[in-house]
Symmetry: C2
Subunit: 338 residues, 2 copies
Amino acid sequence: MDNRHRSATQSDVAKEVGVSRTLVSFAFRGAPGVSEETKQAIFDAAKRLGYRPNAVAADLARKHRSAVGLHLLDIRNEVYADILSGVRMALPQDGNRLILSVSRSVDGEDHGALESLIEARVGIIIAATLLDSDERVHELAKIVPLVSVTRPVDGVDSVYSDDAAGARAATEHLIRLGHTRIAHLAGPVYDGHTVRRQSYAQTMRDAGLKPLLLEADDFTQDAGQRAAAKLLAMTDRPTAIFTHNDPLALGAREAAYALGLSLPSELSLVGYDNSRTSGLHGIDLTSVDLHAVELGRIAGTVALERLSNPDGPAADKRLTPQLVVRNSTAPPVGNSQM
Amino acid sequence: MDNRHRSATQSDVAKEVGVSRTLVSFAFRGAPGVSEETKQAIFDAAKRLGYRPNAVAADLARKHRSAVGLHLLDIRNEVYADILSGVRMALPQDGNRLILSVSRSVDGEDHGALESLIEARVGIIIAATLLDSDERVHELAKIVPLVSVTRPVDGVDSVYSDDAAGARAATEHLIRLGHTRIAHLAGPVYDGHTVRRQSYAQTMRDAGLKPLLLEADDFTQDAGQRAAAKLLAMTDRPTAIFTHNDPLALGAREAAYALGLSLPSELSLVGYDNSRTSGLHGIDLTSVDLHAVELGRIAGTVALERLSNPDGPAADKRLTPQLVVRNSTAPPVGNSQM
DNA sequence: ATGAAAGCGCTAACAT
DNA sequence: ATGTTAGCGCTTTCAT
């Protein structure tokens, strides 16, 4: 009884018109060698029968796979939504199916996610963000072409932002304002995701300052709030915090207000993402723009290229992030020593 | 040369082990009737050859289609990201492929979007939000099972929030605070998407007040800012604005600040969505929560049910929204008369 | 427990 | 211009 929605096939159309299936196939793909007359007859019959091409069967018959698998770490994070919309922009209107896989939670074990994309026989996987180990990423890349977004992986198509430069710009901005006790609120640690913290630490040391790093247990606003609360409870609490991403910064912001602190006079804050929220009046969060939409757009383009040229050299597209200074950062006040 | 990534098939495994394809198929689906011994041999060989089941071919061979097509109006709107994550929660870990289709822009012509989902032969389409005419929705539903999220459609599985109640609650909240010049900032008009404005207008009239409605040309923050700027430039400008959604409200907020107004003393604002942003310190936007994640979760559940019972009666799940009062609303001040 | 064979809806040589 | 035939990788009767 599953045939309630069974649709007509090429055979049905062929029978109706009185021609072979081949002609129907040709007609629908605009292949040459079908007379105008029969073409019309075929389209008419198709319409009458409500025939729709079955893209899946077509893909199976053709050898090549055109579907694009998109893996998103956390769709509720604006960055990933932006990447998704960038990818969409790059893909042709009606060309490649987009098969989505979103991580359930940041459990580090993205296993199932990519696995299901592979079983769906996508022609390529765009992954933003891969949390797996470098080793495993290489294994996966052997099975299916991979475009790593947000994280550079050797020998694998990579589209990312220069995190070292971004973190340096953020840290230097705070140092230049006169801050000395600058903390970095990082996320959980994963292969390929420690660039920002390292660049921060290096920049601090280069300035003769002591790095103060705290890891949040997730990349969310709540995690940021919890972690920042600890940071702000310290006897010699930092006068500035630079966070791994905007949600974390927004969480830190809540923690600060909960303590009655006011920004930026008593605490300077720098986020990372330059999400729409950060530009809102009253939020005014200084943040590093990593051009997420652009990242997605380029990733989509790279994927398309890879699909048509499987053996070309791995792409390595690095965008330069941009520090957007707003009103959440200011020089430290003299009496904020305690 | 496309075979660089060609993976092993059941035949390859069968050959390697020295059994028939049938056994391999059985073994991988856990079908009964395969001895432990051969099962082991099969799995071993599969591993050796790097065999991966081809879910697409399997779907083709089986008659029923298990893939779920998800249509999202605007992924950069948090509501849709929430719906997506709700849907994900409802679908079994590794069960149903999720094929995504996102509208390029709000051009009203979602045509291609759903069309490509149909050609991808998904078993069901979860659509949030359908902008098409009622008539066309019914046509589509004849071709493939449809779950309409966010908008009730007669005879079609629908999962939505009681917009009339939400809009009424918002409007009454403002009336109760003492406002009389309350404007409604609506979005572009589409079939099935005028409930909020109508409920607002009705509530106003019921209170003996005159509705003041303005349509933004999109559902975005920018559109909201543009439209609100007009509203606030009126000689007898409203003392309160209730918007169709949060981005629109956030835009109105920017417009207000750009004019040097302060909230909520000089302008009360009520949004709709209760997005994360609205709860931020300094934003504090009073908003109607439509439980987007829950909407998605239920839609996923309904879709699964429909897949296993194509002929059941259409589901009609209506959630009750909740007004969340924050600090963007207050009584009008006496001297705000102009 | 195991295998043979037909078929899912389509494409792609290879005829005619 | 049109038709024939063999697959694509898998599931599923039906035999054995």
